[in-house]
């Protein structure tokens, strides 16, 4: 097994996976956000590949979302990871971004461009901090006009072909969303997805005749499916694709001629396309088998852009030409010069947990290790997300660990998406409950492997995964040689009170109410069990984190230090929830891998 250097494995240009890909209006170019300059910036490139043009030149600030309009780009830019994105306009040829929204205390998220190419819907909490309202931004003048300012968490959806109506969605929780049709002139709002209990509905786009709305919904089914919802009549969506895996993404072209969707089949993204005029399925050219977090469809419906990563190849942008049947790789983001066959492929395993459910997990086993090897149990964030091969954040870490003879198990404990809504919902109001027993099942699974060294197992995670790591370290202390918490909540009571204002109305259903459920939250907080912690702990935190504020890490570190426990703590002053600057990401990765190696007795 080769032992590539740390710098080689971490030589990954990262994409802003939460930012859309976008096509130029003429479909000849694709734009994306990645950190090739050392910070997340907007780039564009020909769909044929070739020279990538860097469009923003941010150093401290961070490019987030973007969209490509006939009047240039609209780019969300925040200050050092604060997530208070402000919308900027930038000429398509490049230049200097002009701040259109001009605030620092609220965030704006990009919605959908009106057929006139000038009015852009945006979501934001400028009206009430705790709510998400919908506005229309004139891309040329920067004028911002409210569309929906009611209490609640609203998101703009696609425009109806008549240019007068648009779909909007309202989120009650991560698993409960309504879709409305809003008439901009009259302000009239029609609910399109009346339902009882939880049901998650997401608008995709209107049909060409304007009579139907394509939606992703979990109505009556454990998985998200793709349907067409008639605007009139019974309003029961007709299935387009419904199966035993979830539809994770769908796009429709400008004239609603083509529909493209992505199905998450046991962690792997599979691509589907249909000609809506003929109702015929189209063949999607071969794309790498991996994880696709972002797609875009050109206005003419001909080209599909996809961001795809695999276990052995970090995220890159690909363009598939649905007419020509060709696929082109646009970017080459792994610079380490290591052959893919020298990198580890994980095995998908499943093992039972306390209630008889099976926990799916990715197991990376060092190839030619002699004797028993140490292991890292890595818990993903979210918690409503999924560990999938191809994640840029974990590519280098997992490969580096495996190359040094450390096994990695990345489980999708309850609360994870991808395995049905029922499994996802199990985490709601049960943080620090069943999932901790899944973590115990995971470590016990590892311990059953004859090639694992029982004394050298670590737990690691970021965000919710950091909370899980803290829970495991404090409440299951007997299993761990060390643990790493990246910006995880340590105290659910203070966490629930310090999340961004626009999250607060969801906290009761998601985690618990800090007043009404105080006893439960206290009982489930790692901070309540700190004296149980035995093994060395590392905590990394961004000072500007608006989601898990620095106090969550501070309190755990202070308490542990007061108790004389060994804890390594590093705060990054110019970062938020995650590391946007390549230099900081490398510093953090070096700190945490050095820490893991030291306590797992591994030579770097």
């Amino acid at each position: 097994m080769p032992r590539p250097r740390f710098e080689q494995l971490y030589a990954v240009r990262r994409f802003q996976a939460l930012s859309d890909l976008s096509f130029s209006p003429d479909a000849d170019q694709v734009a994306y956000v990645h950190d090739g300059s050392g910070q997340m910036n907007l780039w564009r490139q020909s769909v044929q590949g070739g020279w990538p043009s860097q469009l923003t030149v941010l150093e401290e600030d961070v490019a987030r979302q973007h969209t490509w309009t006939p009047h240039g780009f609209v780019v969300g830019i925040d200050r050092q990871g604060s997530e208070q994105s402000q919308l900027n306009r930038l000429p398509a040829a490049g230049g200097w971004p002009r701040d259109l929204t001009g605030r620092t205390d609220v965030q704006f998220l990009i919605g959908h461009l009106h057929p006139d190419g000038r009015r852009l819907t945006v979501a934001g909490n400028a009206t009430r901090r705790q709510d998400r309202s919908v506005y229309v931004l004139d891309v040329v003048t920067g004028e911002l006009a409210p569309l929906v300012e009611d209490e609640g968490n609203f998101s703009p959806g696609p425009w109806h072909p008549d240019g007068r109506r648009l779909a909007i969605s309202r989120q009650h929780s991560n698993t409960n969303r309504d879709v409305f049709l809003l008439d901009v002139l009259t302000g009239e709002r029609t609910e399109l997805t009346p339902h009882e209990g939880d049901e998650a509905n997401q608008p995709v786009g209107f049909s060409a005749d304007g009579a139907g709305l394509y939606v992703v919904t979990d109505r009556g089914h454990d998985f998200d499916w793709l349907g067409r919802l008639p605007l009139a009549g019974g309003r029961e969506p007709e299935p387009v694709w419904r199966g035993d895996w979830g539809v994770e993404n769908a796009r429709i072209d400008r004239d609603a001629r083509r529909l493209v969707w992505v199905v998450n089949a046991d962690g792997r993204s599979t691509f589907h396309a249909r000609d809506l005029a003929t109702g015929r399925d189209l063949t999607v050219p071969d794309l790498p088998s991996g994880w696709c977090p972002q797609i875009a469809l050109s206005a003419d419906g001909r080209k599909l852009a996809a961001l795809i990563g695999t276990a052995t190849r970090p995220m890159d942008v690909y363009v598939a030409d649905l007419d020509a049947g060709t696929a082109t790789r646009l970017t080459h983001s792994f610079l380490g010069g290591i052959a893919e066959e020298d990198l580890a492929e994980p095995e998908l395993v499943r093992y039972p947990t306390f209630d008889g459910r099976q926990v799916p997990a990715w197991l990376y086993r060092p190839r030619d290790a002699a004797g028993r090897v140490p292991a890292v149990l890595s818990i993903h964030g979210g918690p409503e997300a999924q560990a999938r091969p191809g994640g840029t954040a974990t590519f280098a870490l997992f490969q580096y660990l495996v190359s040094r003879g450390v096994a990695v198990l990345a489980p999708n404990i309850r609360g994870s998406t991808g395995y049905g809504r029922a499994y996802q919902r199990l985490i709601h109001r049960d943080w620090g409950g069943g999932e901790l027993r899944d973590i115990e099942a995971s470590v016990c699974y590892l311990r059953e492997q004859s090639w694992i060294d029982l004394d050298r197992v670590a737990v690691h995670g970021g965000s919710f995964g950091g909370f899980a790591a803290l829970s495991a370290m404090t409440r299951l202390p007997q299993y761990w040689a060390c643990g790493v918490d990246l910006f995880g909540p340590s105290n659910l009571l203070t966490f629930a009170r310090s999340v961004p204002p626009y999250w607060r109305h969801m906290m009761r259903a998601w985690v618990g109410d800090p007043d009404d459920d105080a006893d439960l939250l206290r009982e489930r907080s790692p901070i309540s069990y700190l004296d149980g912690l035995r093994a060395p702990l590392m905590v990394l935190q961004g000072a500007n984190d608006p989601r898990v504020v620095q106090a969550e890490s501070d309190q755990v570190v202070e308490r542990l230090r007061g108790m004389g426990r060994k804890v390594e703590y590093r705060v990054f002053d110019d970062e938020g929830h995650g590391f946007t600057k390549a230099a900081n990401q490398l510093t953090a990765a070096r700190l945490l891998t050095d820490f893991l190696f030291e306590h797992l007795g591994v030579e770097a």
């Binding site: 090739g36 070739g50 020279w51 490049g94």
Partner: protein, 598 residues
């Protein structure tokens, strides 16, 4: 009038000047060193354009010269600006560079690869710190074997197609060098350019009819000639004119020769089929300064990094067969329309001895009277070529004019003009600076009470001289890593430079009196206007002591001085973050003391 922020002007990817361009063995790609991503790293790109592949991932140190062999890349990496490049090897498929020499105390230059593609000529001062010797580096086993190792300074190694002979320049003194051919089998050495007095001779490469050389024999300018190998010693002109030949290269087979002439600051490209004696038409390339130049091994393409007045350096490839040229990189990220930038006018004005000083004059678009910065280039044996400079364009956009003179000592105007600076630092050229200020005084749009002087390296010395010895002319001054005391400066230059000291500036012992009389530190008490000083702590050329002593003395005298030292830089700025820190600071200093709103 648009007023872009400094960052927009500076949104430029930079090419390493202390580097080169290298074609892949098949001529299909070009490798170059650029700072996209924040540090100077090695990249490759197809000659037909396309995706640029980053080959090295240095974060703290810069890649220098490189060679592209069929066994991968050989290149130098220094340690945070210390210029002691260490030769490294990297497989063509990428990976991690392997240090081949393990001599961090030695400066290495990566030279030309051997015709068999298995080895590369390396220059290094490994035996005696003051001498540059020639080595042959075997790319496969990483062994460095000496070829020429005596008390001399060699450079520009060029292999004969027979793989046995090697031409090198032997630097005797400043402006005095020979071309020597070494037979590596017999160790026999032949000097091809026997001469008396000063004569600068450098090899270009072997080709049809002998060895092509740069020479200034019998002429005020560098010309391109061909030397027969049988020892006739009289080069036959290939191109000889009233301008310098600044670059030349020949293909692997010795058939196609290409060269660049510097015609009043503008690079002009030439090519010839030397086998058939036919001129080749070079496709149109931007009108500006060629910074780096190479010819492909098969002679089909030329690669050039070119900067113009309104566009920073980019890499271009000209296809001599197809008659086409193509820009491969796009390094100006700020997106400022070229028409919004100020193009300079080339002016000439008389100085004290009747000579005329050529200079680039940038007039702001704002209504006058305007303040003006006189910007003195480094070297001093170098030339301001009037190409895009972020700081100049930034201050211009705020209404500050710029005059960039090529005072005596500058290259490009003949060796007689160039030599005027030798052993006369702080002499005639200071009067040229005075003439520059007087010229500005005569322009109706210039506010004579608001002139600043600024420069780096030698230009820093010139700035300090001007501030201390012509104090009545300036509202403020900016010195970047300039020597302040010629006696201490000469004692602290890199060892390989020392043999040239005497001719260049003077001997610190024998000429101490002259050097003291010409040192700004001697006149420090005459400085009146506020001064800004920047210094890189790792600078091996002008050590930090040069700036320290000036600043200490000025502070002791109660003068206004702003002093900035960067711990992680050497002679100039290599890191983008540092540049973005320093330049706005300098601009603010200028605006404050020139009375211009930011």
């Amino acid at each position: 009038v648009s007023r872009p922020p400094y960052e927009q002007f500076a949104a430029v990817r930079r090419f390493a000047i202390q580097s080169n361009l290298s074609f892949s063995p098949d001529g299909g790609h070009v490798a170059y060193v650029q700072d996209a991503g924040g540090q100077l790293n090695l990249w490759r790109i197809p000659v037909t354009g396309g995706w640029p592949t980053q080959l090295t991932l240095q974060r703290e140190s810069a890649v220098g010269q490189h060679a592209w062999t069929r066994h991968g890349f050989v290149f130098g990496i220094d340690d945070r600006g210390n210029e002691r490049w260490q030769p490294h090897h990297l497989p063509e498929a990428g990976g991690w560079p392997r240090d081949l020499a393990g001599r961090p105390d030695v400066q290495h230059f990566v030279g030309q690869q051997h015709p068999d593609g298995e080895s590369v000529a390396i220059l290094a001062n490994a035996t005696r710190p003051e001498d540059m010797s020639v080595y042959r580096l075997d790319v496969r086993d990483g062994e460095l074997r000496p070829l020429l190792d005596d008390e001399a300074n060699y450079n520009l190694p060029r292999w004969h197609p027979d793989g046995r002979r090697l031409a090198v320049a032997h630097a005797i003194d400043r402006g005095d060098s020979d071309v020597v051919v070494l037979d590596t089998a017999t160790r026999e050495r032949t000097v091809l350019t026997r001469h008396q007095g000063d004569e600068a001779n450098f090899p270009v490469g072997f080709g049809a009819g002998g060895l092509y050389v740069f020479t200034d024999r019998g002429h005020d300018f560098n010309w391109l000639g061909r030397l027969a190998l049988d020892g006739d010693c009289e080069p036959e002109p290939v191109w000889r004119g009233e301008w310098d030949v600044e670059f030349a290269g020949i293909d692997r087979a010795g058939r196609r020769l290409a060269w660049v002439t510097n015609e009043d600051g503008i690079s002009v490209f030439h090519a010839r089929d030397v086998e058939r004696g036919r001129e080749l038409l070079v496709p149109e390339l931007p009108r500006g300064r060629c910074v780096l130049f190479a010819i492909a091994p098969d002679g089909r393409r030329l690669a050039a990094v070119i900067a113009t007045a309104s566009r920073p350096s980019d890499l271009y490839v000209a296809d001599l067969d197809e008659g086409t040229s193509l820009r491969l990189t796009d390094s100006f990220l700020g997106g400022i329309p070229e028409d919004d930038l100020i193009r300079p006018e080339l002016v000439r004005y008389p100085t004290f001895d009747g000579r005329r000083v050529p200079a680039w004059l940038y007039r702001p678009r704002t209504a006058g009277p305007s303040p003006v910065v006189v910007a003195i280039h480094g070297g001093p044996e170098a030339q301001d070529r009037g190409v895009y400079a972020p700081l100049a364009q930034y201050v211009l956009s705020r209404g500050v004019g710029v005059l960039a003179p090529n005072i005596r000592g500058s290259t490009g105007y003949g060796k007689e003009y160039r030599r005027l600076i030798q052993r006369d630092w702080g002499g005639g050229e200071l009067r040229d600076i005075e003439a520059s200020a007087r010229y500005l005084h005569g322009l109706p749009w210039v506010d004579r009470s608001r002139l600043a002087v600024m420069g780096g390296s030698f230009g820093g010395f010139a700035t300090l001289s001007a501030m201390s010895r012509l104090p009545e002319l300036w509202a403020c001054g900016v010195d970047l890593c300039g020597p302040s005391n010629l006696v201490t400066a000469l004692r602290s230059v890199p060892p390989t430079w020392r043999r040239f000291n005497k001719r260049w500036m003077g001997d610190p012992d024998e000429d101490a009196e002259l050097l003291t009389a010409r040192s700004p530190i001697t006149y420090v008490d005459q400085v009146r206007a506020p001064l800004f000083v920047w210094q890189g702590a790792r600078d091996p050329r002008v050590v930090q002591g040069e700036s320290d002593q000036m600043v200490e003395r000025l502070r002791g005298l109660g003068r206004e001085v702003e002093y900035v030292v960067f711990d992680d830089e050497g002679h100039g700025i290599t890191k983008r973050a540092n540049e973005l820190r320093l330049m706005p600071q300098i601009a603010r200093f200028l605006f404050t003391h020139l009375g211009v709103p930011e």
